[in-house]
Symmetry: C3
Subunit: 205 residues, 3 copies
């Protein structure tokens, strides 16, 4: 069983650029919450990464609309680029909320979610890299992204549960609930991307 896409295939290169860019965004978010030395600067750098992601997505869609032959189903290329774009949008939305809500100190759960987002993005990047070679390990990576999403879901649920138990200030509660939910939605979008990648493998097996 050989790869779907020759290594020089343009779609493959474009998807790999997108996942590298997503990793950069996820690393910035994790560093932002871990060090918390200059969140506003981190947020602006994430916004730049997100703009770059928009333009990469736009290039893929343009190329897709102009291509008669594609390395895998058109609707999967479209869905994958949308899901990858959404991941970065949610990383950016998370960072924005941290700054906009004047968070004083990130919680352990927020840091853990940022860690899980980075792990998911790295796994998706490894999966996309395989589109140019052996497809077999892709399913395994997809299972890993699913497990990371389940873990993020658990962390988010427990964080919100603790929030309702401990936080007496409703405005603080609103802020943190939304930060946790936005972080968790980034891992949902990683799972969406993994599901699309798994479909591509099954169809081409």
């Amino acid at each position: 069983m050989f790869g779907l896409i020759p290594k020089d295939e343009k779609f493959f290169i474009m998807f790999k650029e997108m996942t590298s860019n997503i990793i950069e965004g996820a690393e910035l978010l994790k560093d932002m919450l871990d060090s918390f030395s200059d969140p506003a600067t981190s947020q602006r750098r994430i916004k730049d990464v997100e703009h770059k992601g928009d333009s990469l997505t736009h290039d893929i869609i343009r190329k897709l609309n102009k291509s008669f032959v594609t390395p895998f189903d058109r609707e999967d290329i479209y869905a994958l680029s949308s899901a990858l774009d959404d991941i970065l949008d949610l990383i950016d939305a998370s960072a924005q909320r941290v700054v906009m809500y004047n968070v004083e100190k990130p919680t352990p759960e927020a840091k853990e979610l940022a860690f899980l987002i980075l792990k998911s993005c790295q796994t998706i990047d490894k999966t996309v890299a395989l589109l140019g070679g052996k497809l077999e390990p892709i399913s395994e990576y997809c299972v890993e992204v699913n497990a990371l999403e389940n873990e993020a879901d658990r962390v988010c649920r427990e964080a919100i549960s603790r929030l309702f138990d401990e936080e007496k200030d409703p405005i603080q509660l609103i802020k943190w609930k939304e930060i946790y939910e936005t972080l968790e939605r980034a891992t949902d979008k990683c799972e969406d991307a993994a599901n699309i990648l798994e479909s591509v493998v099954v169809k081409n097996a």
Copy 2:
């Protein structure tokens, strides 16, 4: 006019398994809110039903990806299985929030929404059963699901309106607003499923 799918057709059986499983989830949710004797146990049972639903959805998608011929349009099979999966996710999310937010006593509106969810799921189950036979009554059932969604929308809006009028504790307000909205979104997903089913009928009329 005969059915689209012979009765022994695998996709038909799989969809029927899914809707039966959804009904089980909807019944558990309704019982949970009506009796409210042991919500934590009800929630765990709903979670089991939701896991079974995930695995049924996964089976349909796998079969779809491996099938060259399908009883109706591939994208409709995909969209229908996603919509059915979403219904169960929202039933589970509703139950989770009731437990996580330590609800003391379910409101009449929450019980009514659970009743409307169950009715919608039963109607979708009857519709899916017809894919193996006469298609004509399907449109009627779809109209019924739409009416149930409109009713759920009205109940939800009035419940939230009452909440803003009467509930002075903002944290309680946040909890109940989200419970009502999550319940209502389950009926939205029933409507999505009904719309897909109606398309299938029109295309094959």
Copy 3:
């Protein structure tokens, strides 16, 4: 380069009816917030416009399901009619919240968002009108809708930021946060519609 669709083409006329109806809804919303003389009546009129939009969408989907030949890709017709329907749903949802939450006085940011929604809807209407003629200016209009969405995003973010700085009553904060977010989502849906329209142009260039 000629138009995709002859001027008498039914799909074109139906889409134009939808965008005219959307403009009516957007104008009612803007007037509602600007004058604020009788918000309940404005809201009921917007609801009527939204019902008309539902029925126009339903007609397009029915026609689509029964047509063998379509002026552009079936999935784009489906996606465009859904996006247009969503715009009107969110205009209606915004108006509903203003009434349901007993808003005393609209804020400048809410008025500005309603203005940006109307501008976006007018631009989409101009774009749809071009489907029957020269396609070249469509891309330009799509860029304009994107710019309006960015502007709405900025206004919404600043409004919410100000809300968290100034509003000490958490229940008021919940209400206004949701009104701003609902208004902003209407411009997101305008952007979705513009992106679909741009795809149609690229595919047919």
